[in-house]
């Protein structure tokens, strides 16, 4: 990676498995930081194995999800079960400005690498731990995975049709929300350290970041006893507000109308059909009360239209409308292309893949990625030789002893 970027020269040591930890530090790589992952061949990050079929040998370097979430990072393979590996890890802590740990609480403490232990060694260190419920929770050893976190935080209850089961948004929302909080906390702690010279331990619970995000929902329940549940695509105060079919196979457009001006623009764009002149649809309250009828008539019209052409037409008329884009569409989205969201990088085992940037751009610090995600242990020699100053013989001996593994 180049010297460009806000965090050129910053060193982050990353321990842990899964998407949340990887995404959190990716923001800093994009801005020039060096992020070094300590990994293990014996217990690889499960993201390195998601692509594998049960019963077949696993190629830990051939997981697209791992590569895509870890561009430009370095990987060193250490078996932390071995004391000599833990000693090397502590020397890497001395190299680091920030240590992130995404593990079940207690795991790192057992190895002598817990947050308090590291801060006792190096007070200017910033240590961020993240887990489903948080490290100080008495129930923190409960067995759960990310999907269960989204359920506990309430996102399942809030996603779906009123007459059907809870679904949850696609992906694992606690895995996509919490790393953003981990990242902003690292950034805030770095500012604090810049002014006061000291580090700290920050603990993040994935579920809590989800509940905090849903503050409005919680406050509504607490204040009014309101049990707002999943409402399909509807939104109080807006009508029509939904996703409507377009010409073609499984093609859809989202349309939302929040005021009279947008409704009139929509009606005009439809060619002012007779049904839309219905007195019941005058005014937001009338539209909301009769939205099932509007939805039916609107869908009958959109069904004959091409999704992208309809989006352009409605947007030109001043109506909020957007195509329901699938993965393949995102790769060709002209706006994302304008923002250079995707960077194609070559990977030794996977070939070229589109790597993704953050959702914001800094006007003076463009940043970016230059390398694909690392192979497991790809940077052993550089890290142990150049950063820690081990000789080739020492590295060979540690490899033979299974310390580097």
């Amino acid at each position: 990676m180049g010297a460009r970027g806000v965090y050129a020269g910053l060193h982050i040591l990353e321990l842990g498995a899964g998407a949340a930890g990887s995404v959190a530090t990716r923001y800093f790589v994009e801005q020039g930081a060096t992020v070094l992952r300590i990994e293990s061949s014996a217990r690889p990050d499960f993201l390195r194995m998601l692509h594998a079929k049960p019963g077949e040998p696993v190629d830990v370097d051939a997981a697209p999800i791992f590569a895509l979430l870890n561009p430009d990072k370095w990987s060193v393979a250490l078996d932390l079960e071995k004391p000599a590996a833990r000693a090397l890890a502590l020397r890497l802590v001395d190299w680091a400005d920030v240590v992130t740990q995404h593990f079940a609480p207690g795991a790192m403490e057992t190895l002598g690498l817990g947050a308090e232990q590291l801060l006792a060694r190096k007070p200017e260190l910033i240590v961020v731990t993240s887990s489903l419920f948080g490290h100080t929770d008495p129930h923190c050893h409960d067995p759960r995975l990310g999907g269960q976190g989204a359920a506990i935080a309430g996102f399942h209850h809030l996603t779906g049709w009123p007459d059907r089961e809870a679904l949850g948004p696609y992906g694992t929302i606690t895995d996509s929300l919490s790393p953003r909080y981990v990242a902003l906390l690292i950034a805030a702690a770095l500012l604090d350290r810049g002014r006061h010279g000291v580090g700290q331990h920050i603990d993040v619970s994935q579920i809590e970041t989800g509940v905090y995000s849903l503050s409005e929902w919680i406050v509504r329940a607490s204040a009014n006893g309101e049990g707002l549940a999943r409402a399909g695509n509807r939104q109080a105060g807006a009508a029509p507000h939904g996703i409507y079919p377009c010409a073609g196979d499984d093609a859809w457009i989202a349309i939302s109308v929040f005021d009279d001006a947008a409704w009139q623009a929509l009606v005009a764009a439809m060619g002012s059909p007779a049904w839309a002149q219905d007195a019941r649809f005058v005014g937001a309250l009338g539209r909301e009360a009769n939205q099932a009828d509007i939805d039916r008539a609107l869908a009958a019209w959109t069904r004959g239209e091409s999704a992208y052409a309809l989006m352009a037409k409605l947007q030109a008329a001043g109506v909020a409308a957007g195509v329901v884009q699938e993965f393949r569409h995102l790769l060709r989205d002209p706006q994302l292309a304008h923002r250079r969201h995707f960077t194609t990088l070559d990977h030794a085992a996977l070939g070229p893949l589109p790597y993704e940037r953050a959702g914001f751009r800094l006007s003076e610090s463009p940043g970016g990625f230059e390398d694909s995600g690392p192979l497991l242990g790809e940077d052993n020699d550089v890290v142990l030789g150049e950063i820690l100053g081990l000789s080739e013989d020492e590295i060979a001996r540690l490899a033979a002893e299974g310390v580097i593994a």
């Binding site: 806000v6 049960p54 999800i65 979430l69 801060l119 129930h139 067995p143 759960r144 995975l145 999907g147 269960q148 976190g149 209850h157 809030l158 049709w161 089961e165 809870a166 679904l167 949850g168 948004p169 696609y170 992906g171 929300l177 953003r180 909080y181 990242a183 902003l184 805030a188 500012l191 920050i202 993040v204 970041t209 509940v211 995000s213 503050s215 409005e216 929902w217 919680i218 406050v219 329940a221 607490s222 204040a223 309101e226 695509n233 105060g237 499984d250 947007q315 001043g318 884009q325 699938e326 569409h329 790769l331 002209p334 923002r339 995707f342 959702g359 800094l362 006007s363 003076e364 610090s365």
Partner: protein, 404 residues
């Protein structure tokens, strides 16, 4: 952690949470509303159902830890006062449509020249420039264009969004991250910069690499309801739903064994299920009939029990199963209460006490979290304008002109 940082928050609902996060980190965040209050932001529902902008629950929830002032940016007098306020601020957080500041005569280049240390963070649906920059969008359209809706929902119905605006929830912490990065750069360079946040682009990482992994797969993957791949992961319980995955490879084996052992205790595991070998269980390798039989057995067990009963039993047996909580159940969740996640704010003039999530993380050097209730309309006008260098006469003149 951000004490002494001054933020002018001119955001609409899509940015409320970003300002709140900064406030909860200790920054002095001043929410700017039009005279008479933010009509869109102070939306229903209202406390106890009484229509009053001071009782808007979304406002009260998302503008905590902020002070509040009023200013009419539609008037020239308001805009010139605004430019003076920017000299007070370190950060301008706004959700103005692209081009709005330029139309007012102080686009980013002008702002940057006038206030070289100022960091501006602009949250818009698609970003400041580009072919879709002028497009209108709120949460639903953003979630559609950002790729998440296509994969959410049942295959026999339209794609779906979450009923609460998750596009804003993802953009807010990224906007804050961008602001803090710009401040980090400023500490070295002395110069501020513009943080251009695209709501659409912040949605993409909810897909966890999906475009790169699935973007060229034929046929393209489709939404499949309460399932991931071929298997169900949300199940009806007696009084709601629970989340439990069949997939997950080797890591799932102990849980499946433990669940069947539990079902055996209660007499709910038929012989074929008890004799199932889980070591090499691959839900993707099952044919539809075998999967249906398996799901029917688990489904019947879950459906006959309450969420609480299932959750308690699962915890005792180390089975990763969780209730699909509604908001009241979230408020009652023991782990969250043990961490004191909720704090009660008194609203004496409204005759209410309301529980709010209090924080999003715990830090050893600083208390992160809610510091004050959301501001009433214009509550801090005097204090803030005075701090920004306005004389009492100037404040009175602005008020007399109707700009406050």
């Amino acid at each position: 952690m951000l004490a002494e940082l001054r933020v002018l928050d001119c955001s609409d609902e899509s940015g409320f949470l970003a300002g709140k996060i900064l406030g909860d980190l200790g920054a002095d965040v001043v929410k700017v509303e039009p005279p008479g209050g933010d009509r869109d932001g102070r939306r229903p529902p209202y406390l106890a159902g009484v229509v009053d902008p001071e009782r808007s629950l979304s406002w009260l929830a998302l503008n905590t830890s902020k002070r509040g002032i009023t200013l009419d940016l539609e008037r020239a007098a308001g805009r010139s006062a605004f430019r003076r306020l920017l000299a007070w601020a370190d950060v301008l957080l706004d959700t103005f449509a692209p081009g709005t500041l330029d139309a007012w005569g102080f686009g980013w280049d002008t702002l940057h020249a006038e206030h070289p240390r100022l960091v501006r963070c602009a949250i818009t649906p698609f970003g400041q420039t580009g072919p879709h920059a002028p497009f209108r969008a709120r949460d639903l359209v953003v979630v559609a264009m950002g790729g998440n809706a296509a994969m959410t929902g049942d295959s026999d119905r339209p794609p779906l969004r979450c009923t609460m605006p998750t596009a804003y929830y993802h953009a807010a912490p990224e906007a804050v991250l961008g602001i803090l990065m710009a401040l980090h750069a400023r500490a070295a360079s002395g110069r501020g910069q513009q943080v251009d946040v695209s709501l659409q682009e912040t949605q993409l990482s909810t897909l966890l690499g999906g475009p790169g992994i699935h973007g060229n797969v034929v046929p393209p993957p489709r939404r499949c309801g309460a399932r991931t791949g071929g298997t169900r992961d949300v199940w009806p319980a007696g009084d709601g739903h629970v989340s439990f995955d069949l997939r997950g490879g080797a890591a799932r084996v102990p849980a499946l064994g433990a669940l069947v052992a539990w079902m055996s205790e209660t007499g709910d595991a038929p012989e074929w299920l008890r004799s199932q070998a889980w070591e090499h269980f691959d839900p993707n390798a099952l044919d539809a009939a075998a999967l249906d039989r398996l799901e029917a057995a688990f489904g019947a067990f879950f459906a006959a029990r309450s969420m609480r009963e299932l959750y308690a039993g699962a915890l005792a047996r180390r089975i990763p199963l969780a209730p699909c909580n509604d908001a009241r159940e979230v408020l009652a969740q023991p782990q969250l209460r043990d961490r004191a996640l909720f704090t009660t704010i008194e609203y004496p003039e409204l005759g209410a006490a309301v529980e709010h999530p209090a924080f999003f993380a715990k830090a050893s050097r600083a208390e992160i979290g809610l510091r004050r209730r959301a501001p009433r309309i214009g509550e801090d006008n005097d204090a803030v304008y005075r701090e920004a260098g306005f004389t009492r006469e100037e404040i009175e003149k602005l008020a007399a002109e109707g700009a406050l």
